[in-house]
Symmetry: C2
Subunit: 249 residues, 2 copies
DNA sequence: TCCCTATTGTCTATTTTTTAGACAATAATT
DNA sequence: AATTATTGTCTAAAAAATAGACAATAGGGA
């Protein structure tokens, strides 16, 4: 494989993706752990080819790590502090992994390329966690879902990026009707409510939540779901894709 | 002056600023016209030094064009299509201005630098139009305020950038209480309402608008403004800077 | 089979917020 | 002092959000 520094990327510009999933009543984020001594976690990220749009680049990075392409994806913020670079984390990494660097894993040019200042475009993605088979990179030891409330400390400003992504998700949730991207195709009203509660980290009133969701007119009611529990069986619902409104000319 | 291509900028990354002002009951945008034959308008923009944050760069660009530094400024979106470059507009510009290019205004290297693909970070700014003395660049013929409803056709995707900026402004206006940045320090309730009407391009009910604004608890009522008109004199108000809420630790 | 329990779906009452209508106050002008 | 065009604010009506209540029901257990 060509070394990073010689590939045809836009210089000093990167993309970091906060990939949200939902499982066990918890909002989770996908994070690879680097295959080096020292417990380095990061956000899935990458660089932008000269001949692809930033949106395409984000989709490519996402597909590489999740195996799926049909994903809700939105840019939310640019992180561009002057001091924003890998230099500190790379220093620690090299220090703890001298033996690897004696081999030719990174050459000097590669190292310099990686430790320059980077401006990073933050994207967040919403996925059905069951559809995703997380994939390791060449440099990953593992890749796992972490509850947003128990994220490991990540490199650089990646924890801050997750925070800002969550803020944006909360702000957009009602506006854009995107929560459904985190659920499987069919779900009960309780599933949906618990998802909202996980995202906003606060309880909602069951009766009013149901009314609010039904009043959106985007839910199609399907058959009942018999759980085996000794109580009334809940209906299953499916998100009904909205016909896009005609925009003013 | 050093040619662009040799200055210490981040490559292929730019900033474009939509500077909003308010005058004559109209929302306006500041746009320089380039000093070339062919009527080329653009958004004020620039590049990012290696040793400055993107936010600092945006402030610098703004100060260069408006003379003021204390400005409401917010990034709102990244424009990163693969085909996004000056190449088309530079082609036309060169064609129409051959005589200038026979001199050494741009050298070949400079031209290549400028016509590469650029990813641009969109910022929007809100200014008190009376405090601004628009300043030309080296390459500007003039710089003026244009009503948002009568903007000239600008180079590249700059008209689209303005549209997205306006969308964001509308979405943020109530949330963040930022409208006041467009007004002078003191203003009447009618001034404020007309500003809202200009931004949203729709009328508001006077009684309810006044109630809503007063209920925000951010307006300090000052003395009356005697206009000389044969009717009740309106109060002047001042935006009362909010004490920042304590954030959860 | 028949009650019991936990949960679901929905209805109604209450409260809050938004919108619409009305009117007194007032700064010149006549 | 009456007139006029605005301004500031109040109240009524409508709409939306919140809280409380209850019937329906899928099993479980006597």
């Amino acid at each position: 494989m060509q070394p990073l520094s010689e590939r045809d990327y836009i210089q000093q510009l990167s993309i970091d993706c906060v990939i949200f999933g939902y499982q066990d009543k918890q909002l989770k984020v996908l994070s690879p752990k680097l295959d080096f001594k020292g417990d380095f976690w990061a956000l899935p990220g990458g660089f932008i080819h000269q001949q692809e749009s930033i949106h395409e680049a984000a989709f490519r990075i996402l597909e590489d790590r999740t195996g799926i392409r049909d994903i809700y994806l939105e840019q939310f913020r640019v992180f561009g502090d002057a001091e924003r670079s890998n230099v500190q984390f790379m220093g620690r990494l090299v220090e703890l992994n001298r033996e690897k660097f004696d081999s030719h894993l990174f050459n000097r040019k590669e190292f310099e390329w990686l430790t320059r200042r980077f401006v990073s475009i933050g994207y967040y993605a919403l996925v059905d966690i069951n559809k995703v088979v997380p994939r390791k990179n060449d440099i990953d030891e593992s890749i796992d879902w972490y509850p947003i409330k128990a994220l490991p400390t990540m490199i650089m400003d990646h924890n801050e990026i997750v925070e800002k992504a969550l803020e944006t998700l909360r702000a957009n949730l009602d506006q854009k009707l995107i929560a459904f991207n985190l659920l499987p195709e069919t779900f009960t009203m309780k599933d949906l409510q618990e998802l909202y509660e996980a995202i906003f980290d606060k309880p909602f009133a069951r009766n009013n939540f149901q009314k609010k969701m039904l009043d959106l007119n985007v839910l199609e009611r399907l058959e009942k779901k018999y759980t085996g529990a000794a109580n009334k069986a809940p209906y299953l619902y499916r998100f009904q894709q909205q016909a896009p409104l005609l925009e003013a000319v």
